[in-house]
Symmetry: C2
């Protein structure tokens, strides 16, 4: 029970070569069924376990997929990961997960570590302010599948998995306008990231389309962090022309803002209507329930998983699908009732 038995042990007891054992175990065609059966049954009998380390070295691949996300403890990210994990697991791949904690430096380190660990592919959702992408060069150079999810960047030979954030932003904003809002405010994250800048674009599009004016007072760039609630609230309270519609790029942050506004005696949705983003579980548990954009995190994870797996299997050619866009939809709830 102590000594792990190897293919050599099997070979010796069976009177065949190690190569034959290996091929039998892998169901290679050039081995007779009879021999395969003998090998396999003996393997089971002796409790043979293949040593992945040796396999990895020999094949120069690890059967693991690396993942870098900004934070593990966010509903969207953990849901996304749940989807990825499910698919990867079913396909026999392990997931090595690391978080950048929104720091480019950590992202760089993680990318390097995962590269050194020999992951077969890498899935990335970028940190807030990553603007240089050299840390992915090794992956691209060595043709290791690299897929960006949600927080993406266009790099050659990498695919992106996104939703149409601009359209979603447009729809969210138009909904607010349709509900009678005249003076809107967009609250997003770092504008370096596609998700936040594109949602802002959609926001602008809507204002323009409905001939509402747009200037610097109509959007705030924040970290979507509870620490920012105070200043955001002050901005809303102190602004001369009262804001009656809020589009927040995150449900969670929207919930915080909503709480703060209620404390300031705002009535929602009477005084101010709010649209969030993501459709986090929290959005329908708070009072009033939050209108939001449904962002299918789990489905996106599943798709990301399937995409990687098929790239690894060679069943998809890298250049064919450069970008996959998932469907989103607006979910109307109490926070924007007329």
């Amino acid at each position: 029970m102590d000594k792990r038995i190897t293919i050599y042990d099997l070979a010796k007891t069976l009177g065949v070569s190690a190569g034959t054992v290996s091929r039998s175990l892998n169901d290679h065609q050039s081995i007779s069924q009879k021999t395969k059966d003998r090998v396999i049954s003996k393997a089971n009998e002796l409790g043979y376990k293949t040593n992945k380390f040796a396999v990895n070295l020999s094949k120069q691949k690890s059967n693991t997929i690396g993942v870098i996300v900004p934070k593990l403890n966010s509903n969207f990210m953990s849901t996304l990961l749940a989807g990825i994990e499910k698919i990867a697991n079913e396909a026999g791949y392990n997931l090595i997960i690391s978080q950048s904690l929104e720091s480019t430096e950590k992202e760089i380190i993680n990318a390097k570590t995962l590269y050194d660990s020999g992951v077969d592919a890498l899935l990335v959702s970028l940190a807030y302010d990553t603007s240089n992408f050299d840390h992915f060069a090794n992956y691209i150079r060595n043709k290791i599948p690299l897929i960006f999810i949600d927080r993406v960047q266009d790099l050659t030979n990498c695919s992106n998995l996104i939703i149409d954030n601009r359209l979603a932003g447009l729809e969210a904003t138009e909904h607010l306008i349709a509900q009678g809002c005249k003076n809107l405010l967009y609250i997003g994250g770092n504008l370096k990231r596609n998700v936040y800048s594109e949602r802002l674009q959609g926001f602008k599009d809507a204002l323009e389309k409905h001939q509402l004016d747009f200037n610097k007072t109509h959007f705030l760039e924040t970290n979507l962090n509870p620490d920012d609630v105070e200043s955001v609230t002050q901005h809303i309270v102190n602004i001369k022309k009262p804001i009656d519609g809020l589009f927040v790029a995150s449900d969670n942050f929207a919930a915080h803002i909503m709480k703060a506004l209620k404390k300031e005696n705002y009535k929602i949705p009477q005084d101010i209507k709010i649209v969030g983003f993501n459709n986090d579980p929290i959005s329908e548990l708070i009072t009033p329930t939050l209108t939001t954009i449904n962002y299918p995190g789990y489905e996106m994870g599943v798709l990301a998983g399937q995409s990687v797996i098929s790239q690894l299997n060679g069943s998809i050619d890298l250049h064919s699908a450069n970008s996959i866009t998932l469907r989103h939809n607006l979910i109307k709830r109490e926070s924007t009732l007329k």
Copy 2:
């Protein structure tokens, strides 16, 4: 740039043996500083990268830690993971994360897969109804550090990381009683799991201590799943002697229940007071804010990480710390106001 260079390449260009190169790179004592410097600078010059696969095979260890959690997409679990990841990462370990999806079968498969992958240690939070633990036998037999977190089980030579759930349950319940509740209900998850059975124990302790009677109508065993909300609500609504105090073993589920009760025109906390568990962010965003037990998930993750690392480093002896209990505390909020 294409051909990875190996220690043999280095050895050849430097006119030394591969062994010397290896030892130099690992700062072995038996190599002169001069030689080390030569090797290292040449290694950098040529862009040498150590091949982890070879190292793994040679050392029979992978520098990765396996983790099995019930679900990735729960606030507590993802927060826990965030803590673990931080420590593991700092110590140079990778994390292979998998989810059992509350299924024992998947847990078994995951345990086996991770074992085969050669993880150096395993962290586990058990699935709902796991009651057989043979799938961890290999770890124990081979002295691979095995640590249970939150959802634990006493196995020889494994450590547990928990809070005092029974005491927490007692405190939560006593708080309800102190606020005037006379007829309490405990809503928990599968009683096979320590966390839920112990919280129930604490609940019972409190009732007994305050001479309130306890019978089967005073607790519900559920899956803490949104699907269960309906039946739980019906139970509360239809019970003869009205319930005025609720202790729910999960904030998230408590939030769902609260919403359903409000729909049934219950006033909280006037008609019924509620205490949750975990101190999820949601607990202070809902209306009314939820009294809860603060469960330090991140700290627990950090501790779990540190514990594994020190076991791997041999700086802790397996048998010394069999169980670590973290501090919890009751956070009083609006849902239990008198």
